[in-house]
């Protein structure tokens, strides 16, 4: 809740900093860091006293400012070194300029004729007799919907049923599908054939794990002629 209120004032610490720079009519390329740091900290205090829940990012930037300030106070030992050494403010200036650019871009987007705000498209459904749906054509769908559907489902399940599905598991699923495709086509394969002479370590690992998983699921059977012989893999059920 407090977070929301804060967002109404400044979109984030960079926004606040930019505001201070504009308010003081400061050259962004030559920020008087002591002054700005002081004002920034004052603002944070005000926001806090208003009981606004300050996001951690505001404090992170505060410490960055203090750090830059201290670096600028350090005595410069030799003139040559000064030449090489980067201005401690450079990184922050770059970040501010980038942020400012995106902020402007956001305003420009907002100034366009936005659909359903400034312009409207036909809303009435077309009256037409029932149309056959072509099953072969799909609009591109959004993965986000799929994950959300799954997530909503597992939220309803017991804790024991919940499981994390990570990238590794899905890489394994990819490999399992490929191996099953090959086996359906060729009836039997050797482990070496599955590896397709690739030497990528992850590939070998996933192939191996996929074979183990398939055996565990009793989808394939593996036979070995003798202890150092070729491993042959068959479909468990034709």
């Amino acid at each position: 809740m407090g977070y929301e209120i804060k967002l109404d004032i400044f979109e984030g610490p960079l926004d606040l900093l930019l505001y201070l720079i504009k308010k003081n009519e400061i050259d962004i390329y030559d920020i008087p860091i002591a002054l700005i740091t002081r004002q920034y900290l004052e603002y944070i205090e005000v926001l806090r006293s208003l009981n606004l829940d300050l996001a951690g990012e505001f404090l992170v930037l505060a410490s960055t400012l203090i750090h830059i300030k201290s670096r600028m106070l350090l005595p410069i030992e030799a003139d040559e070194e000064m030449e090489d050494e980067e201005d401690p403010r450079a990184e922050l200036v770059k970040q501010l300029l980038e942020y400012q650019a995106f902020k402007e871009a956001a305003l420009q987007l907002d100034s366009r004729p936005v659909l359903e705000r400034d312009v409207f498209k036909r809303a009435c459904p077309l009256e037409m007799s029932a149309l056959p749906e072509d099953l072969e054509v799909f609009e591109e769908m959004d993965v986000f919907d799929l994950v959300k559907a799954f997530q909503q489902m597992i939220a309803k399940l017991d804790r024991t049923e919940r499981m994390e599905i990570d990238v590794e598991k899905m890489s394994l699923a990819d490999r399992i599908n490929e191996i099953m495709d090959k086996l359906t086509e060729r009836k039997h394969l050797t482990f070496t054939e599955l590896l397709e002479e690739r030497i990528d370590r992850r590939w070998i690992l996933y192939t191996f794990l996929a074979v183990l998983e398939l055996m565990k699921l009793k989808m394939i059977k593996a036979y070995q002629g003798d202890s150092f012989g070729v491993i042959r893999i068959f479909l468990a059920v034709e």
């Binding site: 149309l131 489902m153 399992i176």
Partner: protein, 173 residues
């Protein structure tokens, strides 16, 4: 075009249902309904004379833009190739198959808490799901997995590109 007439055109076009003169009257308290009606009849006339692809018509107690009946065959042709979406039930079943593959139907049923026969059949027909193999246990149950077409439709290079649940949860926090 007279501004009032242009506004009426915009309103009829953007309305979700055939727009009645009464409803328009509510937006323009000072204006006579007859005047509104006169403008709309003028618009109908103009569209008719223009002989374009759309007509303004008085239907179901209101006014609505429609494509000219002469061109219905073309509109039908356009709509035939209309991309079909998935029902929420189908999407849920698909999600279980995608994330738990290879998976037997009994497990999908358990996950969704309903018999998924219908949506599974639909997904097989749409070629988003396929039989990956069978399990060598009593009953030899079928194991299901996703297809290449599934990857295409969801614009994925491979299954590893599917966002994980953890990643989605991070977004929500």
């Amino acid at each position: 075009m007279e501004e009032m007439k242009a506004i009426l055109e915009a309103l009829v076009f953007a309305s979700e249902i055939p727009l009645s003169v009464d409803r328009i009257g509510e937006l323009f308290p000072g204006t006579e309904k007859n005047e509104i009606k006169k403008f709309l009849e003028e618009l109908i006339q103009e569209y008719e004379e223009r002989k374009g692809g759309i007509d303004l018509q008085a239907v179901a107690g209101g006014y609505q833009f429609r494509t000219r009946a002469d061109f219905s065959q073309w509109v039908k042709k356009l709509r035939m190739g209309k991309p079909a979406g998935l029902t929420p039930a189908a999407l849920e079943t698909l999600a279980v198959v995608a994330y738990r593959q290879p998976v037997v139907k009994a497990d999908i049923d358990r996950f969704r808490g309903v018999d998924v026969s219908g949506s599974l059949k639909g997904l097989l027909e749409k070629k988003l799901v396929r039989v990956v193999g069978r399990k060598d246990v009593p009953g030899k149950p079928i194991l299901y997995g996703t297809t290449k077409k599934f990857l295409e439709v969801f614009n994925l290079k491979d299954l590893a590109e599917l966002p994980t649940l953890r990643e989605l949860k991070e977004l929500q926090e």
